[in-house]
Amino acid sequence: MELESDAALVRQARDGEYRAFELLFERHRLLVYRFAYGMTNSRDDAEDVVQEAFVRAYQNLHRYRDEAKFTTWILRIVTNLCTDRARSGNRRTTLEQQEAARGLDWMTLGSPEDPVDNLEGDRRVDALKRALAALPPHHRSVIVLRDLEGREYPEIASVLNCTVGGAKLRVLRARRALRDRVAPFLEEASA
């Protein structure tokens, strides 16, 4: 039903009804934003990516294939945009921003209820965020899609434009790479 609704809205938008495209935006804005935030770890960057993705989607409605899901199509656009941003060096700036933010977060880690446990948990989360930001885009995207957003492998395969088996294999490799990256940050945090 939802697939048909999205397809109908796309057809209406393609015929010139801009309001139909606005409905698509309102329906999938949060999903796309969450994915973009997971890729960029910055609200401003995520908003720019989401806006750019929907602008490109509007300009290329004539290229949208009705048999594909609109979410799959828009998430693929976001993936390509985030990959381009990473190549252009914007990611370095994001890491610098993260370093500055981590310095502030360290002062606020822990809670009055169980400061030690919460501090340890926060440090692990902080280490994981840093490790996730350090992953290359093709690993980070599948971690966000599968482990953060809970997308199924067929949809992940559609976004990545690969087979389901290939999507599963990429997820496995990304998790292994994340585990290898988080260990040094955990040792640094416990030191």
């Binding site: 935006f25 997971g38 692990r124 998790r175 988080v182």
Partner: protein, 269 residues
């Protein structure tokens, strides 16, 4: 490798019950430690904080789309922006420079004076100088053939056009011979000079700024009533005619010509 992949899938809960039981059965302590590490990683991922609220609105999107549409419909033609002024400047330069270049005034000399001009090239008078005509030409009598030709003169004013009845032609490098009853007679020779009484200028613009070219003998009609025989000194003003030669002045490149008093020139053949 498949065994390690199974450990990871088991840690993330992606194995069915039977496959999970089989992996746990054959796992050793190292495998269990790795399973535990991956399970902790999965829990940490689930504990990541949600993203902060976004500020995306439909209005922002609409403005962005409109801005993109406008930019895409009016592409900035850098080539035209750069080449356009350069092309215009080149055209302006090509048009204005020739006009700004001072045009030399035509020097009027007699045709037979070409050789004399070559000899006197270094002593050419300036354009603003005026030299009187030769006295023999100013007498009003018919010019004798092979008579002494006055030196080249320069006009202080534009020569006046000759009224109808006289055929005028401009010779600009055309080397055609004028038809004549005497084949050996060349155009603009002194033999062609005849007495001519031009009409009084009535104030209208001449039909052409012609210099008189006597190149075809013809009979001049009797002057009409509005034509007054101009006697030298009769009105206190002397009218001049210019006789153009086919030869060109070596200095200026203009057709060589000579200025004669109208009263002393007859057009005919």
């Amino acid at each position: 490798m498949k065994r390690k992949d199974d450990l990871l899938r088991l840690a993330f809960g992606e194995l069915n019950d039977d496959a999970a039981r089989a992996v746990e059965t054959r796992s050793d302590d190292a495998d269990r430690a790795e399973i535990e590490a991956f399970r902790r990683l999965r829990d940490d991922l689930h504990q990541l904080p949600p993203p902060p609220p976004d500020n995306l609105t439909a209005e922002r999107l609409r403005a962005a789309i409109l801005d993109r549409e406008l930019k895409s419909r009016r592409p900035l033609n850098w080539g035209a922006l750069i080449m356009g002024p350069a092309v215009l400047a080149s055209l302006a330069f090509a048009v204005l420079v020739p006009r700004l270049r001072p045009q030399p005034e035509p020097r009027i000399v007699a045709r037979s004076e070409v050789n004399l001009m070559e000899a006197q090239a270094s002593a050419q008078p300036k354009f603003d100088e005026f030299r009187p005509l030769h006295s023999s030409l100013a007498s009003g009598d018919r010019v004798q053939p092979r008579a002494a030709v006055p030196p080249p003169v320069h006009l202080a004013e534009r020569p006046q056009a000759i009224a109808s009845g006289v055929e005028t032609r401009r010779h600009r490098g055309h080397h055609h011979r004028v038809r004549s009853e005497e084949p050996d007679r060349l155009p603009f020779d002194n033999q062609d000079l005849v007495t001519y009484n031009p009409p009084i200028w009535d104030g209208t613009e001449p039909s052409s700024s012609a210099m008189v070219a006597v190149h075809e003998p013809q009979t001049i009609a009797a002057p009409t009533s509005d034509v007054v025989k101009a006697e030298p000194g009769a009105t206190g003003k002397t009218e001049t005619v210019v006789i153009v030669s086919t030869k060109r002045d070596l200095e200026t490149g203009a057709p060589a010509a000579t200025e004669q008093e109208a009263s002393s020139v007859l057009v005919g053949g």
